[in-house]
Amino acid sequence: MRAPPAILILTITLVFIHIFSACSTILPTQPENAQQGQNITAETTLLILAAASLSESFVEIGLVFEKSHPGVHVIFNFAGSQQLAQQIVQGAPADVFASANQKHMDVVISDGRIQKGSDQPFANNRLIVILPNENHADILTLQDLAKPGLRLVVAAEEVPVGLYSQEFLSRTVLDASFDPDYKEKVMANVVSYENNVKAVVSKVILGEADAGIVYTSDSSENNAKNILQLPIPDNLNVTAVYPIAPLKDSHHPMLTKAFIDFVISPEGQEILARHGLIALGP
């Protein structure tokens, strides 16, 4: 069976695109054009492995960092923190690791590629329930999530946000306005455990899920018009602590330190805040 030439070319192109796409997204940010007439030394590349929930904020941080450090090329690998931790443990090259929870940072530390004590928190995040715009399931309160027959999507427990979600659900036991079996009923409504938080967001936006539990940073700006938000009260909510650390075998330790310092700096914190993360207290 032979395909017509045009289809053949299209096929080959699609195959090549597939070969070059990876499970986790790799987002190169192009350095701003250096000023005319300035000698550009060999480009330095910083490889940042960051949790999926940091996609938007870190891309902007990368752009600003490149502007202030001409010749530096910041490349990101965004994925679930558990996936990144495993990749690092298996030897993936990296300069910086920004995780969505301490657990996966500790995995890398105990493996040895990050110095114990060199990690520090750089941002917080909180949970929120998101609903598709149409909200056919008529979910108005958190208690509604326990209604039988709903389709909920959450992240798998290995994913930081998945673990945080479980914690939040467990906390409802202490709140009188929730039934004692609230968590069981909600979990019975789960139809899929996703590999990263962005997959949860996508399925809610598509309307295939009635609700999902994600970070507040995932429901800010870009996504805001595609979803409805159902906030979680403070007494039940979980504060996610994001640690960041340099890799011991980084090829550019000074630059790596500069990047991390920038993330912690007021300007970096302001960028994080603008994308829905919670900056650390002073």
């Binding site: 069976m1 096929t11 558990q82 455990y193 295939e208």
Partner: protein, 273 residues
């Protein structure tokens, strides 16, 4: 230069050895990672993990869904293969390309496409939902994904098999008064046995390993839609030993099936494989 007594026997010269060496890179590429996979798994871990509930669930879901989708593939794919292999019609080339399309689509694209079609907000899915039938996030979704990704392999192999049968034989049968079904059942089918067998195996193997589209369309729910590849992918992020165990099991299933199918094919042909 070499004296051949029969078509199969070739005198082994140094030139023969030389060109045979060029087969090593690919063969080693296949063999070495698999051998390393086998050696890195401790038998003790294997036995332990085989008893874990998730592992048993993943294996049974994989086997159940791939068996069902294989059955449907053969049932619905044979007419398609017959059409492509033994008939010509307008737009045949387009249909040809259409059949190859699911194979070249990146799995994530295939998954999204299936989701927006069969999901409850989708064109077909919406209709089904109104009748109370849910597709996305169920085992039906796993099976549909396997059909989408796997059946082109069967169709391609089967149509080649059907197409290779000499039309004279068919004509002779017609002259003798055989009807369409009789021709298919007693002439076409036996002569294309091996093609159908190897096509089924390729389709089944591809379905068994299908992962990207399944995660998007069917989701991941242990005991319901978590297949072995999904379990391996997630297992890799929790527990490397678990992922290795599942990989070895998947490997063993695939290997046994391939050997069995090849043996049957060889017996059909009485040829040395």
């Amino acid at each position: 230069m070499s004296k051949s007594k029969s078509p199969i026997k070739i005198q082994i010269t140094s030139k023969e050895h030389l060109w045979r060496l060029t087969t090593l890179p690919l063969l080693l590429l296949f063999a070495v990672p698999i051998l390393i996979l086998l050696t890195r798994t401790m038998p003790g871990h294997l036995i332990n993990n085989l008893q874990k509930k998730e592992v048993i669930q993943a294996i049974s879901i994989s086997l159940r869904t791939t068996t069902i989708s294989l059955f449907i593939t053969i049932l619905l794919g044979t007419p398609v293969a017959y059409l492509m292999g033994r008939r010509s019609f307008p737009l045949k080339r387009l249909i040809d390309a259409l059949i190859d399309l699911p194979t070249v689509l990146p799995p994530s694209v295939a998954g999204v496409a299936l989701l927006i079609t069969f999901g409850r907000k989708g064109l077909l899915g919406g209709v089904l939902e109104n009748w109370g039938v849910q597709v996305a996030f169920t085992q039906a979704a796993v099976i549909i994904t396997q059909l989408f990704i796997g059946s082109p392999f069967f169709i391609r192999a089967a149509s080649l098999g059907f197409g290779s049968i000499d039309p004279d034989i068919e004509q002779a049968a017609q002259l003798d008064g055989a009807g369409r079904w009789q021709i298919f059942r007693y002439i076409i089918l036996p002569l294309s046995q091996n093609a159908l067998l190897s096509g089924s195996m390729m389709s089944w193997a591809r379905s068994l390993g299908e992962f990207g589209a399944t995660m998007i369309f069917a989701g991941n729910f242990p005991g319901r839609t978590q297949t072995m590849p999904t379990a391996i992918y997630l297992g890799f992020e929790i527990d490397l030993e678990l992922a290795l165990t599942l990989s070895v099991i998947l490997l063993a299933i695939a290997l046994i099936t391939v050997l069995v199918v090849k043996a049957i094919a060889a017996r059909n042909d009485n040829r040395i494989w």
